[in-house]
C-alpha cells in the first residue's frame, strides 16, 4: 500500500486579475462554469485529511476570485488541514482577511513580480504592484505566517539585491526566491526568462549573503533553475509520492503540468474517491516507483533521489514523457538544454531589460489571458 500524500495543492480557479508571463497554469485553462462547487471542495478536503494530508495550498489563478474562499478555509480547517493561501493579494480587504483568519487560515504567501513598480506591472500585465505593497503590513499584523514570494528570471536578476531589500522591508517571516520554471506560460516566454550563466552565479552569491545576513529574522528559501543544474529536480518529490493537485474542474493530477502528457486519463474527484485516485488510478501509478524508468535512470545511483526528474518537462522537451528529464547531464537528450543555454549565453546576450530606460513593448511577452 502506497503512503498517502502529505500536501494537497488546490487550484480552486484559473481566474486571475494578473497575466504573469511565467504563470504555471496550463495554456488551456479551466472555464468558470467547470469549477467545482464549494461542497465539492469541502468533500475533497475531508478526504485529503483522511488520507494523511497535512498541508493544503489554496492557489489558482487567484484564489480570492472565488467568493466562497472563506467557507473553503473554514472547511479545510475543520478537516484539520494546515491552510496556506497563495495569492497576488488582489481582492483582499481588511474585512476579508479577518474573516479568513477567523476561519482558520494559517499562512499567506504573497507574490511580488519585482521591487520596481513599472517592471512589476510589466510582468503582471496589469497595475497590481502598488496594491500589493499596501497589503503587506495588514497581513503581517493578522497573526498568520507570512511569506513573500518573488519569481526571478533574466529580466530582474540584475537587481536581485534590491529585490531582497524590498522584501525585507515588508517584514515577512519567510522569503521565497524562485527561479521561473518553464512550463505553461513560462515555457512560451522561456527565452526571455532564462537567466544567463553569469546572472545565475551572481544570484547564488547574493542569496547566500542575504541568508546569512537575515538569519533568524527572515528565512530565505531559494529554488534554482534546473536548466543549469547537473541533475534534475525531484519533481513533486516523485510522481504520486507526496503531493496531489486538484484542477479547478476536479481533475486530480500528480503535477501542475501533467495534463500535457498525452494518453493519460486524469480521474475527477466528482467521479471517484480521492483515496482510490491516489492509490489505484492508472495516472498516479504510471510513473510511480522505478519500473517505468529508462536507462540511464534505471541503473543510476540517484534514481531514488530525483526520480528521473520531471515527467512533464521530459514530454515538453523531448516529446516522450518516459524519457530521462533532459536537464539531467546524463540524459541522452541533454543536448536540447545545451542548445537553449548556448543561445541564451551567446555573444554576451543581454541581461535584464528592466535596467534599460524604457521597457520593451508589451508584445515582448505572451501574456496569460483570462479563462472563459
Amino acid at each position: 500500500m502506497v503512503a498517502g500524500p502529505l500536501a494537497l495543492i488546490a487550484e480552486i480557479t484559473h481566474r486571475c486579475p494578473l497575466h504573469c508571463v511565467y504563470c504555471s497554469n496550463p495554456l488551456q485553462m479551466a472555464s468558470v462554469s467547470s469549477e467545482l462547487e464549494t461542497e465539492e471542495w469541502t468533500g475533497v478536503f475531508r478526504q485529503a485529511a483522511e488520507l494523511g494530508v497535512l498541508h493544503l495550498h489554496l492557489t489558482g489563478g487567484e484564489p480570492l476570485a472565488r467568493e466562497d474562499l472563506t467557507e473553503m478555509v473554514k472547511s479545510a480547517h475543520f478537516a484539520g488541514l494546515y491552510t496556506n493561501l497563495i495569492t497576488s493579494g488582489l481582492g483582499l480587504t481588511h474585512t476579508r482577511l479577518k474573516a479568513l483568519v477567523d476561519a482558520g487560515l494559517d499562512h499567506i504567501q504573497l507574490s511580488f513580480q519585482d521591487s520596481r513598480e513599472t517592471a512589476a506591472n510589466w510582468i503582471a500585465g496589469t497595475r497590481a504592484h502598488a496594491l500589493k505593497v499596501e497589503l503587506a503590513p495588514m497581513i503581517r499584523r493578522a497573526g498568520v505566517a507570512f511569506t513573500v514570494n518573488m519569481v526571478v528570471h533574466r529580466q530582474n536578476l540584475d537587481h536581485l539585491e534590491e529585490m531582497i531589500a524590498f522584501a525585507e522591508a515588508l517584514q515577512p517571516q519567510r522569503l521565497e526566491i524562485a527561479h521561473a520554471q518553464y512550463y505553461g506560460w513560462a515555457l512560451k516566454n522561456r527565452d526571455a526568462l532564462i537567466p544567463t550563466r553569469a546572472q545565475l552565479e551572481n544570484s547564488v552569491r547574493v542569496v547566500a549573503a542575504a541568508q546569512k545576513r537575515l538569519e533568524g529574522r527572515i528565512r530565505i528559501d531559494a529554488v534554482v533553475p534546473d536548466y543549469y543544474a547537473r541533475f534534475p529536480k525531484a519533481c513533486m518529490g516523485g510522481w504520486g509520492q507526496r503531493l496531489i493537485l486538484i484542477h479547478p474542474s476536479g481533475k486530480a493530477l500528480p503535477c501542475h503540468a501533467a495534463e500535457v502528457i498525452p494518453g493519460l486519463c486524469f480521474e475527477n474527484v466528482r467521479d471517484r474517491p480521492l483515496q482510490w485516485i491516489w492509490q489505484e488510478s492508472d495516472s498516479f501509478q504510471k510513473f510511480r516507483g522505478e519500473a517505468w524508468m529508462p536507462e540511464p535512470c534505471r541503473s543510476c545511483d540517484r534514481r531514488a533521489q530525483d526520480f528521473g526528474g520531471c515527467r512533464c518537462q521530459a514530454l515538453l522537451l523531448t516529446g516522450n514523457a518516459a524519457a530521462t528529464d533532459p536537464v539531467c547531464s546524463l540524459a541522452p537528450q541533454h543536448f536540447l538544454i545545451e542548445e537553449v543555454l548556448a543561445r541564451v549565453n551567446a555573444n554576451g546576450a543581454g541581461g535584464s531589460a528592466v535596467q534599460d530606460a524604457a521597457l520593451p513593448a508589451e508584445d515582448f511577452w505572451a501574456y496569460r489571458p483570462q479563462p472563459r
Binding site: 499562512h107 538569519e215 528559501d221
Partner: protein
C-alpha cells in the same frame, strides 16, 4: 539576534500550531511539519508564551531527575535557539 535568556518567554511563531494527539501529535508550520518525541516535545509543548526558559529548565530537570541538570539546561538553550532559527519559535 538575541540568544534565549532565562527570562525569555518562548512561544510558537505566527502560523505554527499543533495537531493530533499522542504519537500523532505534530507541529505544523509553513511548508513543514515536526513530529517530536521525548524531551524535544516536552520542551516545545512548553513554548507557549507562559513558561520562561528558566521554568522550562526547572520543570525538565524535575522530570528527568537522573540526568545531569547542567546538560539539560544547555540542551534546552541550544534546542530553543535552533527552533528560533527554524522560524518555529519566537521570543
Amino acid at each position: 539576534m538575541p540568544q534565549p535568556e532565562e527570562s525569555s518567554l518562548p512561544r510558537l511563531a505566527a502560523g505554527c500550531r499543533w495537531t493530533g494527539e499522542g504519537e500523532q501529535r505534530t507541529l505544523l508550520f509553513p511548508e513543514g511539519a515536526l513530529r517530536l518525541q521525548g524531551t524535544g516535545r516536552e520542551i516545545l509543548e512548553r513554548c507557549d508564551g507562559r513558561h520562561t526558559v528558566l521554568q522550562i529548565v526547572q520543570e525538565l530537570q524535575g522530570t528527568f531527575n537522573e540526568a545531569d541538570p547542567g546538560k539539560i539546561r544547555s540542551d534546552i538553550f541550544i534546542f530553543i535557539e535552533r527552533l528560533r532559527q527554524k522560524g518555529v519559535v519566537s521570543f
